[in-house]
Amino acid sequence: MNTHYGIYGGRYVAETLTGALRELEKAYFDAKRDASFQAELDDLLENYVGRESPLYFAKRLTEHCGGARIYLKREDLNHTGAHKVNNTIGQALLARRMGKKRLIAETGAGMHGVATATVAALFGMECEVFMGEVDVARQAPNVDRMHALGAKVRSIKEGSRTLKDAMNAALREWTATSGDTFYLIGTAAGPYPYPMIVKDFQSVIGRETRRQCLDRCGRLPDEVVACVGGGSNAIGMFAGFLDDPGVRLVGAEAGGLGIESGMHAASINGGRVGILHGMKAYFLQDANGQMLDTHSVSAGLDYSGVGPEHCYLADTKRARYTVVTDEEAVAAFDLLCRLEGIIPALESSHAVAQAVKDAPGLGPDGIIVVNLSGRGDKDMDNIKTYKVNHGQDL
């Protein structure tokens, strides 16, 4: 089995965890061969999540940009409000198959935490979500949702108190409890086999988009755009088009206050190869090889690393990774709200901003698909704070 993407990926974990990863790998391949597993997953995706999600032509946004037709893949319309649930349903089915009684998860923006708490309730499992203290404060509505769904939320007070530290804490917990506990990783990162599993469960996004685009437009898009933190929604979207060399794959990294400011979370554009969270990948690090704190207006992109397949796609130039600043993301958020009546997540707003930049250059015959990975209800307080701090009208 190929556990690496070029030099990236692998399973850089303490020996104590290697057994749990082997058990997971075996269970996953068994499940993949089992038609009843796939049938149950498909049924839940259709009737519980509400798939397939629409591919919506954003007419007014297209007119505003004056170029390529912009379509939105509406992952924000999924149950729980983001793409995260595609993966949590799949992994929870796997956990149940493995006889695990308890789910643990890390979360940044809280969307993965909510999606994990949701499936834990659905399958009658215990659930504990690890979340950095900073994120607990700035994503309070999602903490309330997790509590309502019966999950415990453990606030992590060490390090930068964001997603990276939540993941450290979850890995520590799993090291001691892997016998009865399933670690449900939310992004296409971590030790093998997680990047593969998360990609497989999220690839429904790309598969549907490819078919919908062919049906509606009679051809493939020129470009698909997704935001990249750890990279799960992006890899899910890209998966549908990796073998279509004519389709440009674009990942928008969180540029924060700009790369030159050092206050960002753009691991590919501003980082270097490192090892953390079980994988070799690009990480933001200082001169001593210590991981740096990150900054982004969007909690879900606020991660110092990025999934290993994205590193590989960047090196091989199959995908292009750009930088979108906080300011550009907030402007794109406003644009989508006012022109289309859609409130996007701040994470997804980075992808919208990139499409707005790219649309004119492609001309009116062009087609861009934006993965609208989540809805922005959870971000209303952050948007308000951002605008007040920057002297903008609410």
Partner: protein, 257 residues
């Protein structure tokens, strides 16, 4: 014979882990000196890292605080050099997460460790599947790479892990992170005996060893004991406390073995 093998041939050694540079550079060095003068046979020098995800609260906090203060791999190497110059016979092992080593460069690091007189490297987050990338440079420069085995490692895998390795085997007593509990699990004797049957290398036992009774119990079965969180905690209280802690463990270890 090499230094590490000599030590294990002569006794059941006490191995002491400490985070290099903690609680501050001066006291870290004084603490190591005190540990050696009070009976530590091998020192594991922990490289500070921002994300010590295999460590429990005590070592994790020490590691992060020291990393934040900028104590770098070069500082660790300088400290190791001074210890080596003062104590020619003590065993010295660099204990590190992979990222600081990758960042420094594996080959450059191993060359430097060999030059200083460090005996080996213990990579925390480098299992069998990935270890060739560091094992090559270690061998090239004549350093041991210390393999780790956990209570969850099945016998076939133990065989593969120890095959061709040198120095000693680090047996992790408890499935979990460092410093999470005290004492040994009930199946400890059988599990250590199993590891010893599968390797000709000495087997040192670590995790949960922070008092005389546990150290004595562990060393009845293992070829040596390792203490980490207990020492780091004692050193945070003071160099004198750290010295007493090591004397307590070394006395217990010597009388039991």
């Amino acid at each position: 014979m090499d230094r590490i093998s000599d030590i294990f041939a002569s006794k059941k050694p006490l191995v002491v882990f400490t985070t290099a540079g903690y609680p501050d550079p001066a006291r870290s060095e004084e603490g190591i000196v005190a540990a050696i003068e009070n009976g530590a046979d091998i020192i594991e020098l922990g490289v500070p890292f921002s994300d010590p995800m295999a460590d429990g609260p005590v070592i994790a906090a020490a590691s992060q605080q020291t990393a934040e203060r900028g104590f770098s791999m070069n500082d660790v190497l300088a400290l190791a050099g001074r210890i080596r110059a003062r104590f020619p016979r003590v065993g010295l092992i660099l204990f590190s997460y992979m990222n600081p080593m990758l960042h420094f460069g594996y080959d450059a690091l191993c060359a430097e460790l060999a030059r200083i007189g460090v005996d080996g490297v213990l990579p925390v987050d480098l299992p069998l599947e990935e270890r060739d990338e560091l094992l090559g440079p270690c061998r090239k420069h004549g350093l041991h790479m210390i393999p780790l085995v956990s209570p969850l490692t099945p016998p076939d895998r133990i065989r593969e892990i120890v095959d061709g390795m040198t120095g000693f085997v680090y047996y992790i007593n408890v499935a979990g992170v460092t410093g999470a509990r005290r004492g040994l699990p009930p199946d400890y004797p059988q599990l250590v005996e199993q590891v010893k049957k599968l390797t000709s290398l000495p087997v040192a036992s670590g995790f949960g060893i922070a008092d005389a009774e546990t150290a004595a119990e562990a060393v009845r079965y293992a070829d040596g004991v390792i203490s980490g969180s207990g020492f780091v905690k004692a050193l945070a209280a003071g160099v004198k406390e750290a010295a007493e802690f090591v004397r307590m463990l070394s006395t217990a270890t010597a009388s039991a073995s």
